[in-house]
């Protein structure tokens, strides 16, 4: 049941517990209990909003940075990652397989701001061997949502 609740919340975090209960044929109190438990267990971390910043007056520049780390004894990837993810400019950090180690997403108001952050803060962290910065030019799809979906409802309005 948790899986189904999560699937619904993932698509719409603002849906009421009563509605979830109806949709899943559950008792509303049971839904509330499960959600509370998942929040306590940090299964559910936060309820965010997916925003298309391009439609606002706010400037958001996003860069994806491939970070290579020199692994050293007693300093695992986790410690280096923490040094990176503590910066509020950093939106996400993931450990990767392949030709680099950490994938870092940084947001800023301008390209310059992001570039400076990489040069001054990120690249200078101990054990960081190299960085490669890729600026995002356009978001097509994020978190499973297509930004400008041109596939409308093409069905006949009434059919047998």
């Amino acid at each position: 049941m948790r899986e189904k609740i999560l699937e619904i919340l993932r698509c719409n975090a603002r849906i009421s517990h009563e509605q979830i209960a109806t949709m899943l044929g559950m008792d509303p109190e049971e839904v509330t209990r499960e959600i509370k438990a998942m929040e306590d267990e940090k299964v559910i971390l936060k309820y965010n909003t997916l925003i298309n910043w391009e439609k606002t007056d706010v400037n958001v520049v996003t860069a994806m940075i491939d970070v290579k780390v020199i692994p050293q004894r007693d300093v695992g990837f986790d410690e280096v990652a923490e040094r990176i993810y503590r910066f509020p400019e950093v939106r996400s950090v993931s450990l990767m397989s392949g030709s680099y180690d950490l994938s870092v997403v940084v947001e800023g108001k301008t390209m310059k701001e992001v570039a400076l952050f990489v040069a001054e803060k990120l690249a200078t962290i101990e054990h960081v061997q190299s960085t490669m910065t890729h600026f995002v030019l356009k978001h097509y799809k994020q978190a499973g949502v297509i930004f400008e979906d041109k596939e409308e409802d093409r069905r006949q309005v009434v059919s047998p």
């Binding site: 189904k4 619904i8 719409n12 509605q19 109806t22 949709m23 899943l24 044929g25 596939e151 409802d153 069905r155 006949q156 309005v157 009434v158 059919s159 047998p160």
Partner: protein, 400 residues
């Protein structure tokens, strides 16, 4: 002035078939702006991308030719595997399966292959709109059995028994049912099977909604003891894989019956379009997960819709299959058509009057939940307002 009278050339059988009740309503809805339509008899999902992609790839590879009349051998093989796995039915892809242009064509083929002039075709109603006209065009005489809400819109053995004459030949069964959402489980179908066997009937089982069964597993009529040879099983990809516009379905049954159907199919259609066949092959190979995902979505919407209908005081039996609810609107004091027309005019919500689906549909409306949760919610808000107004009017009238 020419003395040409086109009407004179049209066969009389066709003239006896009334125009579709849905057509009239369609024009009304199409001419209204801002409508939320819960009147659509097809999935709101677009065909899963991997299926569309496979079709595009097949075109690039040059799959643009005729196929075997029966359908591509690989596809028939895949369909046979699917029926075996899902419903425990084993059909030979060699001579017991034909790929058709939608389940609709299969219905037409089946009726034309087995109905002689004057044979009686028993059709439980309300039901999908094409059985009766196809039976009439095949020369048959349709015997309708109105199914009842108090029986959960199921056909009962008693009703069937009462409808039998010496001319009875074919029974059409469509469960899960459009428009009622009724299903029939193994025991209930077994009771029907006994009557079928007793009177030596043939069953055309249109199980196009089989994958959309919400409480328990769908029982295919052909899987009942002794019924496989007596059943022409019809199914397809439209509802389960959200592939309505591809027009691809299939029929399975006794080699002689399928062979007879193929005879008509090969001289009229030749073969189902290869593009659709390639897409269907991909659907069966890799698409079942999408079927289950979509089914879960429908199920959630179903529960939501039923609750809202009950909350507004409309009697609605719990539909356990397909993607329709079929509540009674009698409490509003309106007949089905008036309800639908006024609801459209006043609140811009489109639903289909139940009488469009034949006897027993009067007093009911078909609401499709092949729509997003938000659309369903909004439509139910509007409908609730509408229904409340009608209740008030009834009250005022009663007091006057």
């Amino acid at each position: 002035m020419s003395n040409f009278n086109a009407e004179r050339f049209i066969v009389s059988k066709l003239r006896s078939i009334p125009p579709s009740g849905i057509r009239k309503f369609f024009d009304l809805v199409a001419n209204t702006k801002g409508v939320i339509s819960l009147g659509v008899g097809e999935p709101d999902f677009v065909t899963p991308w991997h299926i569309r992609e496979a079709c595009v790839y097949s075109l690039e590879k040059g799959y643009t030719m005729y196929t075997s009349n029966w359908g591509m051998p690989e596809l028939r093989q895949a369909v046979a595997g699917y029926l075996e796995e899902r419903y425990g039915l084993s059909y030979s892809p060699e001579n017991q399966l034909v790929i058709t242009v939608g389940a609709s064509e299969a219905v037409d083929l089946a009726l034309r292959a087995v109905v002689n002039d004057g044979d009686e075709v028993i059709v439980p109603e309300p039901c999908y709109v094409s059985y009766k006209p196809c039976a009439v065009m095949a020369g048959g005489k349709v015997v309708s059995i109105p199914t009842k809400p108090e029986n959960d819109f199921q056909l009962t053995a008693e009703q069937l028994e009462a409808a039998i004459t010496e001319k009875s030949k074919v029974l059409v069964l469509c469960y899960p049912n459009n428009p009622t959402g009724a299903i029939m489980n193994r025991d209930e179908l077994s009771a029907i099977a006994r009557v079928v066997e007793k009177h030596d009937l043939l069953v055309i089982a249109d199980e196009i909604y089989s994958e959309l069964t919400y409480n328990g597993q769908h029982t295919s009529f052909a899987s009942l003891p002794g019924m496989k040879e007596r059943t022409i099983l019809i199914n397809g990809f439209s509802k389960s894989f959200a592939m309505t516009g591809w027009r691809i379905g299939f029929a399975a049954g006794h080699p002689d019956l399928i062979g007879a159907m193929v005879k008509i199919h090969q001289y009229t259609i030749l073969c189902t379009p290869v593009t659709a066949q390639m897409a269907a092959l991909e659907a069966l190979k890799n698409g079942l997960e999408h079927v289950y995902r979509m089914k879960e979505q429908y199920n959630q919407r179903r529960r939501l819709l039923i609750k809202r209908l009950n909350d507004m005081g409309l009697d609605c039996f719990e539909p356990k299959g397909a993607f329709y609810a079929f509540p009674s609107v009698k409490r509003t004091g309106l007949d089905a058509e008036t309800f639908c027309e006024e609801l459209l005019k006043e609140e811009k919500v489109a639903v289909v009057p139940g009488n469009a689906f034949g006897a027993g549909g009067e007093g009911h409306i078909r609401i499709s939940y092949a729509a997003s949760i938000n659309q369903i919610e909004e439509a139910m808000e509007r409908m609730e307002r509408f229904v409340a107004r009608r209740y008030r009017e009834l009250q005022v009238r009663a007091q006057a």
